[in-house]
Symmetry: C3
Subunit: 264 residues, 3 copies
């Protein structure tokens, strides 16, 4: 089933009205871009690195993102503390298991985080398969070597087992809570030529989860928002520099009419 | 009293002539943007993270910025060492107490840094009130919940008590050394939709403090430079992506005529 | 001897065909920009911070970059472990000794890294002279106080002694393996007004070293690619904001005809 443009427009409106505070514990490559994507869309980003502050912020924040891109011996315990605090406080949180399966430390760390019941998980097909325990699914760095469709059954199993929603990114995005599958057919290849677009999607899913009670609808809305904005941004962009700039502009000006026109 | 366009043009000219080396100990979200703002304006940014190097650089640098946005157990002692070295060497330094009052660790750390006599302090009204010891002034993340005008008396008290200059950012910026208050009425709302614009102002205040003996005039000049450039950048910008790019262009091309035309 | 446009076009074609995975251990100011430069050119960036993952990735990656810009007590041992693993695996690696000579910790750390046989070293004249053991060559932060031509003899000595290729950046770039010297006369002054352009060159040299067996040709090709793209980007750019964006666009669209037209 296709993700709904009307639902997306409603979630976007709520996001702008309430401007949720999203605590981002993300990788060092994409911090600035992630913050700018959230600001452009209408959310309010916050990043901290001290353990006691991360715990405190996870209680105050409207949503938490944990992205494992550059997780280290210093940041892993801070993430774990924040996730535990988010769980106690009922703050929705999103796991982005970047390059899980390829690299040893994060693979076991991400598996451990599943016990803390993420509201949603976002990854490419290789990452989702690795997290689901499918061996031999390893990608290459952040690039998937599998299509999202091939990962759907295992993604749905993972969603049911953990009690979460899984968003599998790819040319077609698939979002599943283990029962229903929503598809997003928007997007543009340039999204893979700017660093942090996938990571920013994790942050947007967190932001939407703060204002929409259904994690499935929230994740599909975030995916639709970003991929439609990418289509708008790609028009006339001569390369990834201009595309990255226009993506922020497009998120800022995105409205219901544009969503309906692009989703169909 | 309004900040003076002529003073600002003079400080900007000095900054470009001398290209002060500004050591930035800032948060991980805005490092790149901060460096680009300094370079576009004419200063020379330098960032280090090793304690021994931070101490050495604070002696060699023309100014130091300490921004607490993502202060951690690892970086706090490095900041303290640098500030101590700056004090001994007579290097001007600026404190940007991001989210002080909201988060526990940084609040006590920032209060301790006041003993090391910052040349200037830059923050929004909530941050300045919290640093001044006014309880119940906590903002929400980096967003102030109070206007700069409401914080003026406490900002002036803080400036007198610590012997510093306090720049309160907001739609109207107020800069006070406890005796004189300078107002800056420039700026554009898009400044709040790009991450790191406030943090970059802290860095620019440091840069101006390196070339202008009066901390009050330096902080007012930095504020005027950034807010006038923001007005130039906002013209025709469809969103925050383009605005952020044009802000760097506008800082690069800013001249006395533009300053006079916008400040009036 | 001038670097050859045909060689550069061939290396660029190989880079796009094979999309080498480049592990970047770089400074916190330029991570995002470095990743975007690699993506725009056609390579695949990867950044990790955990020691065990850095070691693992250095074996899997096609090239490794070690940039000392913000090296710390936490990151230095991770870099050392990665470089050791790269050496064992035969993965080419590039050393960018940012601000060596000016700052104490990195100077001794960089000297120690020379024993691990970097494939190439990239720096400005001051950094190369300091690494070569010439005292009194200290620059000022990241800015060189010496021309690349004045550093050539010491750069060639360093290249022979370590068994490496040395790329000395400046208005004229000189690349030497101790026997042959290649010159690159392209570039634009705006390259010094955007943070991370020099650091991105180190990453591009690593990427080219993954697909070109001669380190000398690889470093000259990377330098030519970036400096020609900078010339394209500078056309009509009103300032460093626009220039930085267009540089990514120009790297994305760079072709043999443009290389030949600009190199002559």
């Amino acid at each position: 089933m296709r993700a709904d443009a009307r639902d997306t427009a409603r979630v976007l409106g709520e996001l702008r009205r309430r401007s949720p505070l999203v605590q981002c514990m993300t990788n060092t490559v994409v911090t600035g871009f992630t913050a700018n994507v959230l600001l452009a869309t209408g959310a309010s980003p916050a990043m901290v690195e001290h353990a006691s502050e991360a715990t405190r912020l996870a209680v105050v924040a409207d949503a938490v993102l944990v992205n494992l891109g550059t997780v280290s011996a210093q940041t892993a315990p801070v993430m774990l503390a924040a996730v535990t605090a988010a769980g106690s406080a009922g703050t929705p949180w999103v796991l982005d298991p970047v390059a899980v399966g390829v690299l040893p430390f994060r693979t076991s760390f991400a598996t451990g985080l599943l016990k803390h019941c993420p509201t949603s998980i976002r990854g490419n097909a290789s990452e989702v398969l690795s997290l689901a325990g499918v061996t031999g699914a390893e990608g290459r760095g952040v690039d998937s070597t599998t299509s999202s469709r091939d990962a759907l059954d295992d993604a749905s199993d993972l969603a049911r087992r953990v009690g979460t929603t899984v968003a599998v990114s790819g040319p077609v995005d698939l979002i599943t809570d283990g029962v229903t599958v929503l598809e997003v057919h928007n997007g543009n290849e340039m999204m893979t030529q700017v660093t942090g677009v996938g990571c920013a999607l994790g942050a947007l899913i967190a932001a939407c989860s703060a204002v929409e009670p259904s994690p499935l609808v929230a994740a599909a809305a975030a995916t639709t928002i970003l991929t439609v904005a990418a289509e708008v941004a790609a028009i006339g962009s001569p390369g990834p520099g201009t595309f990255g700039v226009r993506l922020l502009d497009a998120l800022h000006t995105l409205d219901a009419a544009t969503l309906h026109a692009h989703v169909g």
